[in-house]
């Protein structure tokens, strides 16, 4: 049974269009022009309990807006969503006890106090029993290796340490659904890796449902089996990570290694030469004609080694985002 059900969910904002210059600013006091921004457009989505789903999309695609709608932070313009049977924007305490939202660019811990003081506050707000609170806190601080930092003011922690503390604060009440909005933004590779490892372990052992937005493909590749691409407020893909390449990439990369440093000419007619470092040449070729193409190349040239690969995922996704950006805006 779906733990998250979204049907024709839409959110639009009325945004003031300020014109340039002083006169226009004064004029804006009396008469203003607004435009309607469609942040989320009639999306449908079902997520099963225990899934780890990534939301991908360019900036302004509607990923964070969707997470905020599902958290009940904002109310939709139309449509329906239910998370664990609750309508999020009714903001019932019963629902708010069962989920958590972590935002990589915002912080909820008291800045001047050690994180342990904020954790105690969470204990009271969520009504967590003292023994359970201590057990969960100790478990999380051990897993994230921050036990020695509990007494240090938050403002003196590094970005990575702060994000770990934010995660602990969000998980103290053992939520069943976790929304993560770019949890690794700005972190170095080690901190990113630590957070990925923790999230994978936590999700596997607890079986909770996680929705993650991230611009880092490594996060997505390491954690999520299912990927939802959202662009201009619409879901344009929902499936596996590898399926993105099958659906959106029309080419493969063929690497040819020649026996001598002298690379034959005329390879352009087999495909686009994307790199040429003798004796190695990389060709971008149409994915439907790989067999014929390789036969033709091998018939004409002596090849020492050959490999056929999918293009890098980041490249395919960047192409998808870029092609969506070029399309005329939907009405």
């Amino acid at each position: 049974m779906a733990i998250i059900e979204i049907e024709r969910l839409a959110k639009s904002y009325r945004v003031y269009q300020k014109k340039e210059g002083l006169l226009a600013s004064v004029g804006g006091l009396f008469r203003r022009q607004h435009r309607e921004v469609q942040a989320v457009r009639d999306i449908d989505l079902h997520v099963e309990a225990g899934e780890f789903v990534a939301f991908l999309g360019p900036n302004g695609a509607g990923k964070t807006t969707t997470l905020k709608l599902l958290s009940g932070v904002i109310t939709p313009t139309r449509g329906m969503a239910r998370v664990m049977g609750h309508v999020p924007w009714e903001r019932s305490n019963a629902y708010r006890r069962r989920f958590a939202l972590v935002m990589g660019q915002k912080n909820q811990l008291w800045w001047d106090l050690p994180a342990q003081e904020s954790f105690r506050l969470h204990q009271q707000i969520y009504g967590i029993e003292a023994a359970e609170f201590e057990r969960v806190r100790d478990e999380l601080t051990s897993l994230l290796d921050v036990r020695s930092l509990l007494g240090q003011p938050v403002r003196e922690l590094s970005l990575g340490e702060r994000m770990k503390m934010e995660l602990i604060a969000a998980l103290l009440h053992s939520p069943e659904v976790l929304f993560l909005d770019e949890p690794t933004i700005g972190l170095d590779v080690i901190a990113q890796h630590n957070i990925q490892t923790f999230l994978r372990h936590y999700q596997e052992t607890r079986g909770i449902t996680i929705l993650l937005t991230s611009h880092y493909m490594k996060d997505v590749a390491a954690l999520c089996r299912r990927v939802v691409i959202i662009a201009r407020g619409r879901i344009v893909y929902d499936g596996s990570l590898s399926g993105i390449i099958d659906q959106f990439s029309g080419h493969k990369v063929v690497t040819l290694v020649f026996p001598t440093e002298v690379v034959p000419t005329g390879l352009e007619r087999f495909g686009e030469v994307i790199s040429h470092q003798a004796p190695r040449v990389k060709l971008k070729v149409d994915r439907n004609g790989i067999g014929e193409l390789l036969s033709a190349i091998l018939a004409e040239h002596t090849i020492e080694d050959v490999s056929v690969e999918d293009p890098p995922l980041e490249e395919v996704i960047a192409e998808v985002f870029s092609s969506i950006a070029k399309e005329p805006a939907p009405v």
Partner: protein, 293 residues
């Protein structure tokens, strides 16, 4: 899986609801107060400067009225506001203001910024009343120095007046100070909540100053051609004149029939202000747009 076994969620909500709401809210408030104190003590020099600054301003404020009473025996002839009666009035003003400034002012001021920056998101995620959370999460302990100052001033004034309040007065006085705090808090939170619609509202402190300016003087001075309309407006429409006047009357003299009726009205007005502000806050939250991250 045995369907008769309670789920993890059911066990947790049972535990959470096992503790009564007032006790949980009380525990959360104590944690807010504790954390604020811990933070204030971290910056102790700043805390001490704030206390000294608040007490100095109060001393100058009191000194100004001592000077005025060098030239007149009372504020208005026949009003009953002699020097020490007025000092009791001042003490009541200080009680109300110090409570508002300690518990509500820092939070309502911060609310506008939380709305503009999107920081309100986190308050909306917590399984606790959002208005409670945003109204009380910071306590400005240094403002309570004025509370102690007010207690001393009230005691001294009553001693000078030679008036010993009876039990009913001693019980009603904190109730009406609470009503005054409730009315001013309602105005504040209503004004702060409008930031959700306006995007930015920086007039909170100015508005607070203008309004408390009116409540800071005895109601009797608002008479005559210009005073009477103000008197009516600030008693019945925006009842700030009841904030200090009613508890101050109770402490320094027996109330006449009109004052008793205003005392009853103050209770109704407080309830109405709190209910209205709660409604405005709730409506405003429905329009909350957050901020892009």
């Amino acid at each position: 899986m045995n369907s008769e076994l309670p789920t993890r969620y059911e066990i947790r909500t049972e535990r959470a609801s096992a503790r009564s709401a007032p006790s949980r809210y009380g525990a959360v408030f104590l944690m807010f107060a504790r954390n604020s104190l811990v933070r204030d003590m971290t910056f102790r020099a700043n805390f001490i400067i704030e206390v000294i600054s608040a007490l100095s301003w109060m001393s100058m404020y009191l000194g100004f009225y001592i000077l005025i009473f060098e030239y007149t025996p009372s504020i208005g002839a026949g009003t009953g506001w002699g020097k020490y009666q007025f000092f009791a009035f001042l003490a009541t003003t200080l009680f109300v203001n110090s409570i508002v400034e300690a518990f509500f002012m820092p939070n309502t001021e911060e609310l506008s910024e939380l709305i503009r920056s999107g920081g309100l998101d986190f308050a909306l995620l917590k399984p606790i009343d959002t208005q409670f959370l945003v109204s009380l999460q910071r306590v400005d302990w240094s403002s309570l120095a004025n509370f102690l100052f007010a207690a001393c001033l009230l005691g001294y004034s009553l001693l000078k007046i030679g008036h010993v309040p009876g039990w009913p007065q001693l019980l009603l006085y904190p109730l009406y100070v609470g009503c005054g705090v409730g009315m001013l808090y309602s105005l504040m939170i209503t004004l702060a909540a409008t930031s959700i619609w306006l995007g930015r509202n920086q007039t909170l402190y100015d508005f607070w100053f203008y309004i408390t300016n009116f409540s800071r003087y005895p109601r009797e001075i608002y008479s005559g051609t210009y005073g009477t309309p103000l008197n009516i407006a600030f008693t019945y429409i925006l009842p700030v004149l009841l904030v200090v006047n009613v508890p101050a009357w109770l402490m320094v003299r027996p109330l006449n029939a009109e004052e008793w009726s205003l005392a009853v009205y103050a209770l109704v007005a407080t309830a109405a202000c709190l209910a209205l502000s709660r409604w405005v806050f709730g409506r405003a939250l429905l329009s909350y747009r957050s901020a892009s991250s």
